[in-house]
């Protein structure tokens, strides 16, 4: 029976500040943690023997996994020493062909179905930025090698990091710290790994990638009207509203939109397509939100405009907050990029009225004390803007 090992021990450093309070696998996209999509795709394919390797903020991950209906094996990687080491921690529970997947990438049911009966295979996909991933060099339908994050990519086909492997692979994991190194060893040792095209696969490398992911995944959300709707509110399209959420008079919600529980969407707010709002969020009147991920317990003041942005947990943004979506040069871990987005706010950011965020990443617990400020570029955690 095919087993599965899901690697969820890493932080996801390139997604900071969002990964301070949660590992990448638990970041909510369309109001579901990324790892939930992975587990769902496995379970829908009939795979029941699932081991999850946890490490960074392991108690948080374990608590979340306990809320799922399916019973999982949990293995703890005490020190984050690489993905090959993480798999090694789970080695004792592997006794058959197994799927190896990262817990923080979206993968759909069909892709898993294509690979689950293969003996040694990897799911591959075309990607416009191959140097962020492992580029696959193929020989026919088998892989010759995988080049990890190459300066110059030889092709646009990358490895999704999702493999179907025989237990003999476990001998190769001692070769290096990461799975791609182990795969090279495995191939050198004579194994043949087939390249299978994946259907839907998404890896958010940087925070703004989450917005693209959110846009795609929110279309799969099933509509529901569990909240309390004022009779003059206007709801159009695929909209899902959680229990006890109040939608005020004159509010307009155009789907696809998902809103969690215990929220308060004030009068005359406009929630536009591509927006995911968590639980206990309060949005004051006359605020416009579009193409955004708003996490739990956020409070957004009136007359605000939040577009193409991510607002971390517990942020309190006072009235007239603006986000200006631009594509400016930004450097993350030595790489120069020009992504287009409004703002990425970490957790517990507090801002005074009339704050404008121009294409910036704001660290956790930043406080903008004075009204009327404009913020640019990157602001570190625990900053005070005066």
């Amino acid at each position: 029976m095919t087993q599965a090992v899901v690697l969820a021990a890493g932080e996801g450093r390139r997604l900071r500040p969002l990964t301070h309070a949660r590992p990448k696998a638990l970041i909510p996209v369309a109001n579901r943690p990324i790892i939930e999509y992975v587990i769902e795709s496995l379970v829908k394919n009939g795979i029941r023997d699932i081991t999850v390797v946890v490490g960074y903020r392991k108690e948080q991950v374990m608590r979340y996994l306990n809320t799922l209906d399916i019973s999982l094996n949990i293995v703890i990687q005490d020190k984050q020493l690489g993905t090959a080491h993480a798999l090694g921690c789970a080695a004792s529970s592997i006794n058959d062909r197994f799927l190896l997947l990262p817990g923080d990438n979206y993968i759909d049911y069909d892709s898993i179905a294509r690979i689950k009966s293969e003996n040694n295979a990897v799911l591959v996909k075309e990607n416009p930025q191959p140097s962020n991933f492992g580029v696959v060099i193929q020989k026919g339908e088998y892989i010759e090698r995988i080049d990890e994050k190459p300066e110059i990519a030889e092709s646009f086909i990358v490895s999704t990091g999702i493999f179907s492997l025989m237990p003999s692979f476990l001998d190769a994991i001692r070769c290096g710290t990461d799975i791609p190194e182990a795969i090279s060893c495995f191939i050198d040792g004579g194994a043949s790994i087939r390249a299978i095209p994946a259907k839907d696969w998404m890896d958010a490398v940087y925070p703004w990638d989450l917005l693209t992911m959110n846009e795609k995944l929110i279309t799969k959300v099933s509509p529901s009207r569990a909240g309390i709707f004022h009779r003059t509110s206007i709801i159009q399209g695929q909209v899902r509203v959680g229990k006890r959420t109040k939608i005020g008079p004159g509010a307009v919600i155009r789907g696809p939109v998902i809103i969690g529980e215990d929220c308060n969407i004030g009068p005359y707010c406009c929630i536009e397509p591509g927006t995911s709002i968590g639980d206990r969020v309060s949005i004051e009147p006359y605020t416009f939100v579009k193409d955004a991920i708003i996490m739990d317990s956020v409070s957004i003041g009136s007359h605000s405009r939040i577009v193409r942005s991510i607002i971390g947990e517990g942020c309190i943004l006072l009235d007239h907050t603006s986000t200006v979506s631009r594509a400016n040069m930004i450097e993350i871990e030595g790489k120069l990029l020009k992504p287009e987005f409004g703002t990425i706010l970490g957790d517990s950011v507090c801002s005074a009225p009339f704050t404008t965020f121009h294409n910036c990443i704001i660290g956790n617990r930043t406080v903008v004390e004075v009204p009327g400020r404009s913020l640019y570029h990157m602001v570190p955690d625990d900053s005070r803007v005066v």
Binding site: A21, R57, T67, I74, R280, S297, S348
Partner: protein
């Protein structure tokens, strides 16, 4: 107290009952046993913790079994005193949770009539009495016996040749799970939820005939219908799910337990209960008493309403003239002393409000109003998440009484603060504590009850003697106990108590006791005086109560792990103390 389980239906009843007893182990774990009904009644029982290997499940193929896990009250824990107990002819078997107060006089009567007693327990009198009245119908016999018993009981009885269980409840909890062609009876819902979420909470005076097809309940000789409730605790709540101990799992659940408890309080109902309240009395035992003390500091500061806090067990020795509100804190809802305190309060002109975690528990019937903590089942004997949940509900009460003063201290930031506190490295502190023979905890103001709770947790699970003092009191005697071998844990965070605590720590250091201080980030003065400093995240003052509580719980937990203790089942303790 004890745990009882009974099953009738198509499954392997012994397997269901044994699994159920393991779930109820937290109610008592010094001996166990089951009675299997097939052609005759076979009883298998033993002293000590439940060992599944003791039973050969293949040979126990029956659809009708009752079982018991014991916390001894009368009769030492051993094989003979373990339940189930049977009558002289071994045709009737019974399990019992509770105490029969008049068992000595009943026993004398039965001895005169020629009955032979095998054990020293109070329970055995019940089954011999049933034998006296038995004339082919177990229900009639039990019905006649019940008026003769004084005390508390939840019993399950089976007889040879009868394909049913007779159950009765008086002052001890008993829940029936109604499944499809099967019924499971248990002292609480945890053994039942694996099979069905539909339960009936029995009331005092209920007498039930349980068959696989269904139950017939009577009370005071009249057949009645009881409401079937659907329990929303998932079965995963009662599993460890990757954590090493239930206590660890429950400590880490506290961030969401706190926010859930805050959100689940019905403010409108609360305003009605609290309207016109000018004084409050709080009763509780152990950890609940500490929660009451914290409530007192907060309510007196923010709402300016006088609060008195009493040990529930002491309450009956000096009942104050009562007006106003009595708040009873009990996680299980079954704590005997707290129940008695509420009964006393009802005799005066007092509104009673219970705060508990268990739906359908005894306190919900006794108190006029109830607020639920909604923390999910707390399996570990030491209270952790139930304390946080109690604080959440009490904070809401203070907030309501102070007209929103407390909320402006942003209770909403509690969730993140607790999450951050759970990740703080406390290993240097654990290293200091694990070799200690005595530890002192000190705090001032509302951190004094926090330190009381910290000391209690350390005592309970690591078996290290720990005591807590209001820091100002140390100099009036306890200082004589200080030496290099007595570490002191001091809560020294910013606020009105800070500067005087620093001086206290200096005095303690002068007596050469090692000091572990809980303080704020960047506090260089503290780092200069204390041996180990544990820094808490920056939060409003009220939230510091929660973060420090969580850190002290983890300190106790990690110390106990370092010492190899039986964390979820500490020696000599039971989860809910249903005796005085």
């Amino acid at each position: 107290m004890c745990g009882i389980v009974g099953y009738i239906g198509p499954r392997n009843a012994a397997e269901v009952v044994i699994k159920g007893l393991k779930k109820l182990e937290y109610r008592g774990y010094d001996s166990f046993g089951i009675a299997v009904s097939s052609d005759q009644i076979s009883i298998l029982k033993k002293g000590g913790r439940i060992q599944e290997s003791f039973f050969n499940l293949n040979e126990l193929n029956s659809g009708l079994v009752i079982g018991h896990t014991r916390w001894a009250t009368h009769g030492i824990p051993n094989d003979t005193n373990a339940h189930p107990h049977s009558d002289c002819s071994n045709n009737i078997a019974l399990v019992h949770n509770g105490i029969i107060e008049n068992f000595l006089s009943l026993r004398e009567d039965l001895l005169i009539r020629g009955h032979i007693f095998k054990s020293d327990t109070d329970t055995e009198v019940i089954v011999h009495l049933i034998e006296e009245f038995y004339n082919g119908d177990l229900l009639y016999a039990v019905r006649d016996v019940i008026p003769l018993l004084q005390g508390s009981f939840a019993i399950l009885v089976i007889a040879k040749g009868e394909k049913r269980i007779i159950a009765a409840r008086y002052k001890s909890p008993l829940v029936l799970g109604i499944g499809d062609g099967e019924v499971i009876a248990g002292s609480d819902v945890t053994p039942i939820l694996d099979y069905t979420p539909d339960v009936i909470f029995l009331e005092d005076g209920d007498l039930v005939s349980i068959r696989a097809e269904g139950v017939v309940i009577e009370n005071s000789h009249v057949i009645i219908e009881r409401l079937v409730t659907c329990v929303d605790w998932s079965r995963e709540d009662a599993r460890k799910g990757g954590f090493d101990h239930f206590m660890q799992k429950e400590i880490f659940e506290q961030a969401s337990v706190f926010s859930q408890a805050i959100r689940s309080v019905d403010y409108e109902a609360l305003k009605t209960i609290l309207s016109g309240v000018k004084e409050i009395t709080v009763v509780g035992c152990g950890t609940s008493y500490h929660a009451g003390m914290i409530f007192r500091y907060l309510t007196e500061e923010f709402a300016r309403i006088p609060v008195r806090v009493e040990f529930a067990s002491e309450f009956k020795y000096s009942p104050p003239p009562l007006h106003g509100l009595l708040i009873a804190l009990t996680q299980s809802g079954e704590t005997a002393d707290t129940l008695a305190a509420v009964e006393i309060a009802k005799n005066y002109e007092c509104t009673t409000l219970a705060i508990t975690n268990v739906l359908g528990s005894s306190i919900t019937r006794v108190a006029k109003n109830t607020l639920f903590m909604r923390a999910g089942p707390e399996v570990s004997v030491a209270a952790t998440k139930s304390f946080i949940a109690e604080l959440a509900v009490l904070f809401c009460i203070t907030d309501c009484l102070s007209e929103g003063e407390l909320r402006t201290q942003s209770l909403d930031s509690a969730h993140k603060a607790i999450e951050d506190a759970l990740l703080i490295d406390i290993d240097p502190a654990v290293d200091l504590l694990k070799n200690a023979g005595t530890v002192f905890f000190v705090g001032r103001g509302w951190y004094y009850p926090v330190s009381l709770e910290g000391a209690l947790k350390l005592k309970e699970i690591s078996y290290i003697h720990a005591e807590s003092y209001a820091a100002g009191e140390m100099k009036h005697g306890p200082f004589a106990l200080l030496s290099e071998e007595t570490p002191v844990v001091a809560i020294c965070v910013e606020g009105p108590t800070y500067s005087v605590m620093i001086s206290n720590i200096k005095e303690v250091k002068a007596r050469r006791a090692p000091v572990i201080a809980i303080g704020n980030k960047g506090d260089t003065d503290l780092c200069a005086v204390a041996d180990v400093v544990v820094t808490i995240p920056d939060t409003p003052r009220v939230i510091q109560i929660l973060t420090i509580t969580v850190i002290l719980q983890l300190l106790a937990y990690r110390t106990a792990v370092a010492l190899g203790r039986d964390i979820d089942r500490p020696r000599n303790l039971a989860k809910s103390v249903t005796v005085e």
